[in-house]
Subunit: 109 residues, 2 copies
DNA sequence: TCTTTATTTCTAAAATTCTAGAAATACCGT
DNA sequence: ACGGTATTTCTAGAATTTTAGAAATAAAGA
């Protein structure tokens, strides 16, 4: 991942509302969550939510699938994985900032 | 770490110039880097750099120590560790987005 | 086709961020 | 105390972001 892509994704997550959205989608699990349910949960105007979702979708952190009239949102774990990988590799000292319970191994699949 | 703190730190890192600053400081290692050297490396106006550093310092990601007339900047790994921990715990599905080479263990110190 | 529900796009105002020149401050050596 | 180097603070303009109401679009069902 390039620095500019990482920055764009960090910026997308760096807004409390968008971070809440993303976290909610992670908790929604594999089935995801309709936009409408997100709106109820987060208590934000529909247009505002849509705007934030657009940002998250734009950087690849969220995807949408349509099911009839409702749009289901999903967290994209692959992108998040890449972002965490970038941060650990580019922004951490060897072993110094591995989160507790997380260990960096030499070479594991 | 609270959601708002995590968001503030992600936002701080979510600007290409600031992400470059932070990455440079990580690469500078334990001894850190003077503001002036950062300025040469990143080719940015002194006042602009100072402004971005203020942001990073404000969220705890960077610290400064004075050595005579020069200020030395250091990456704060403890805060970064906490941020990564937050992201893994709050924004990842179990095992789904562990970066390659990183494994989440049940309970390790 | 008309209605309803779900969501986005358009629009615009308020707030914030980014940038960098100029002035101010901090510290050291003489 | 003075001069020089390092860095910050002040200031302000340009650009971007955030917010949400209103209008538009998409899909399903009667």
């Amino acid at each position: 991942m390039k620095l500019d892509d990482a920055a764009a994704r960090l910026e997308a997550l760096g807004n409390p509302t968008r971070l809440k959205i993303y976290r909610t989608l992670v908790r929604a699990g594999r089935e995801g969550s309709p936009v409408g349910r997100l709106q109820e949960r987060l208590d934000v105007a529909a247009s505002t939510l849509s705007h934030h979702l657009k940002t998250l979708i734009g950087v690849g952190l969220v995807t949408q699938t349509r099911e009839g009239t409702t749009l289901i949102c999903h967290a994209n774990y692959e992108i998040m994985r890449g972002l965490l990988e970038y941060m650990v590799e580019e922004c951490c000292a060897e072993g110094t900032c591995s989160p507790a319970g997380i260990i960096k191994l030499p070479k594991v699949a």
